[in-house]
Symmetry: D3
Subunit: 131 residues, 6 copies
Amino acid sequence: MKTRRQRGEEIRREVMSDPFVDRALNNSNDFDAPLQELVMETAWGTVWDRDDLPRATRSLVTIAMLAAMKCSNELKGHVRGALRNGCSVEEIRGVLLHAVPYIGAPASLEAFRSAREVIEEFEKAQQADAE
Amino acid sequence: MKTRRQRGEEIRREVMSDPFVDRALNNSNDFDAPLQELVMETAWGTVWDRDDLPRATRSLVTIAMLAAMKCSNELKGHVRGALRNGCSVEEIRGVLLHAVPYIGAPASLEAFRSAREVIEEFEKAQQADAE
Amino acid sequence: MKTRRQRGEEIRREVMSDPFVDRALNNSNDFDAPLQELVMETAWGTVWDRDDLPRATRSLVTIAMLAAMKCSNELKGHVRGALRNGCSVEEIRGVLLHAVPYIGAPASLEAFRSAREVIEEFEKAQQADAE
Amino acid sequence: MKTRRQRGEEIRREVMSDPFVDRALNNSNDFDAPLQELVMETAWGTVWDRDDLPRATRSLVTIAMLAAMKCSNELKGHVRGALRNGCSVEEIRGVLLHAVPYIGAPASLEAFRSAREVIEEFEKAQQADAE
Amino acid sequence: MKTRRQRGEEIRREVMSDPFVDRALNNSNDFDAPLQELVMETAWGTVWDRDDLPRATRSLVTIAMLAAMKCSNELKGHVRGALRNGCSVEEIRGVLLHAVPYIGAPASLEAFRSAREVIEEFEKAQQADAE
Amino acid sequence: MKTRRQRGEEIRREVMSDPFVDRALNNSNDFDAPLQELVMETAWGTVWDRDDLPRATRSLVTIAMLAAMKCSNELKGHVRGALRNGCSVEEIRGVLLHAVPYIGAPASLEAFRSAREVIEEFEKAQQADAE
C-alpha cells in the first residue's frame, strides 16, 4: 500500500502536471525540502485523496479560498490545476465573480489579474496545438 | 422585467428560506435597512443570478470563502442554504476538510463548530419529519 | 510637559468617556496592565494627538479599519467614540455602507450588527434625556 | 434616468480620471470584462453615489480599509483618487499614520511604500506644470 | 513503530492534557470526527514531533500566530498548553505584548482577553493546590 | 536617560544592522519620515526593550506573526534580524514548518520563498568570509 507521501506526490502530479511538480522538487534545497515533503503528505496525500468531492469541485473550492486569502502565487497554480481537472474557463470565472460580494472588489481584482495570466497562457497553448 | 433588487430577494428566499429572509427584513431598522437593500441587490441580485455555476456549487464555494474569512455567523446561514440547494452533509464536510491544509487547522476548527450546529438542527428536523 | 502616557490617557478619556477608561483601568490586573499602558502610550498618546486630521475623521477612519479587520469589540467602542467626537449616525452608517464593496458583505454584516447595538443604546439614552 | 452602471462609470471617471478608467476598460478581455461591469455597477454605482459622506472622506476611509487589507494595487489607485477628490498629502499621510497602532507596523509600512510612489509621481507632475 | 496518528494523539495529550483531548474526542460526532483525525495526524503528529525547536518555544510561536489570526478559542487552548510546556505567565505575556506593534492593538486586546481567562483559572487552581 | 526614540534606534541597529537602518532612514522623505519615527519609538523602543523574552525568542515569534499576516517584505528583514540575534537556520525553518498546520500551506509557501532568499544570501556571505 502506498504511503500518504507517495499517494500525495501521485495526486499532485495528476492535478498540477509533471513539469510543475518536477520544478517544485528540483528547485527545493536543504532549507525548504522539508516543506515540500510536509505539503505533499499533509495536503495532497490527505484531503485530495478523499472521495467525498469530485476533483473539479475541489479545484473550484480551492480557488475560492486562495482568492479570499489573497495568495496570488498559489492561485495561479490552482487555476492551472482546475483546467487540468476539467473545469471550464467559464466555471473558473464564475467562481471569481461569485467571490466579489463576499471577499470584496479589491481582493477579487487581484485574483482576476492572477487568474487571467494563466488563462491567457492556456488559451495560447490550445491555439498553438490547434494550428 | 424584474429589477436586480426584486430578483435578489426572490433568489435569497429560494436559497435561504422565507422565514430566514422575513426575519432579516423584519429585524432591520432605520440604521441597517439600507444594508439589507444593498446586499439584496449587489450580492443576491447579481452573482447568484448568473448561470455559469449550479447553485449547489455556489453554496460550496461560498462556504469555503466564509471558512477562510472566519465569518461564523454567515457560514451558518450558508450551510443551511447549501442543504436547501441540494448539497449533502458529506459534500459540506468534504469542503470543510478540504480547507484544513489551505486555511489552517484553527480556522477550520471554528468553521466545523459553526457548521455542526446547523447540521445537528437539520438532522433533528429530518428525524422529526420522519416520525 | 505631559508625557505621551499622560497625554494618551487624557485623549482617550475625551474620546471614549471617563466611565469607559475607568472601567478599562479598574478591570486590568497584573497580567494585562502593561497592555493598557502600552495602548495608552503608543496609540492614544501618538497618532490621536496629531493635528493632521480632525477627530471626527479619525473616528470614521478607525471604524473603517476595525470593520475590515472584523474586530467587533473594538468597533463598538469606537462607534461610541465617534458619536462623542461629533459624528452623526448617518455618517457612521455611511462609512459602514461604503465598506460593503471593499471588505465584502459578510464582514459588513458583522460590523453593522455591532454598530447597531451601540447606536440603539445611544438613541435610548438620548430619548431618556429628552423626556 | 441613468442606470447604476452608467452612473457608476461616470463617478469612477470623476474620481479615478478618464485615462485610468479608459485603461481599465481597454485592458479588459473576455475573461475579466464581467468583473469590470460588476465593479462599476456594485461599487461605483452604489455607495460612491450616496450623499451621506463627502467624496474626500470616502477616499480617506477607502485608503484606511485598503491599508488594513494589504491591497497595495488598489491602494495606489485610491491614493490617486484621493488627491483628485481634494484630499491633501498631509491628510493621506495622517490616515496612514493613524493606521499604525490599529493594523500594525508591517501592514502600515507596506501601505506607505505604495502610497509614496503615487505621491512622488503626483508631486513631479505638479512641479512640471508649475514650470 | 507508531503511526503519525498515534504519535499525534500522544503528543497532543502531553501538551493539552488528557481531559482536554478526551473531551475533544468524546464530543466529536459523525460530522467532525474526520477533522479530529486529520488534525491529530497532520498537526500534532508532524510538526510537534520535530526536534528543531523546544516545546516551550513551539507554544510561544503558536500563541503568536493565533493572536495574529484572531483565533480566540484555539488561543485559549494553547495558552493552557504553554503553561503545561513550562512557559511562565511572564513569557506568555511577553509574547502578547511583543505582538502589539506587529498585529495592532485591537487584535492584541482580543488576545489578552482570551489569555487572561486561562491564566486566571490556572492561578486559582495553583492557589487551591497550595492550600 | 535615553528617550524611547533613542533607545528604539539603538535596538533596531543592534537587531537589523547599521546598514539596514541607515538605508531606511536615508531613503525616507518628507512623506514617510514620520512613519520611521513612529515605528522606531512605538515598536523598537517599547516591546523590543522589555526583558521578559530573550531577543532570539522575539525574533522567532516575530517571524511567526509575519508569516501568518503574509508580510513578505518585513519577514525578510526579520529573518536577517533573527540570524543576527543568534537564531540558527534550523530554528528559523522550524518555526516556518511549525506554521504550516496553523496558517495553512499557501501562506507557509510564501513565507518560505521570502525566508529562503535571505538564508541564501547569508550562507553565501558566510562562505565568502570563510574563503
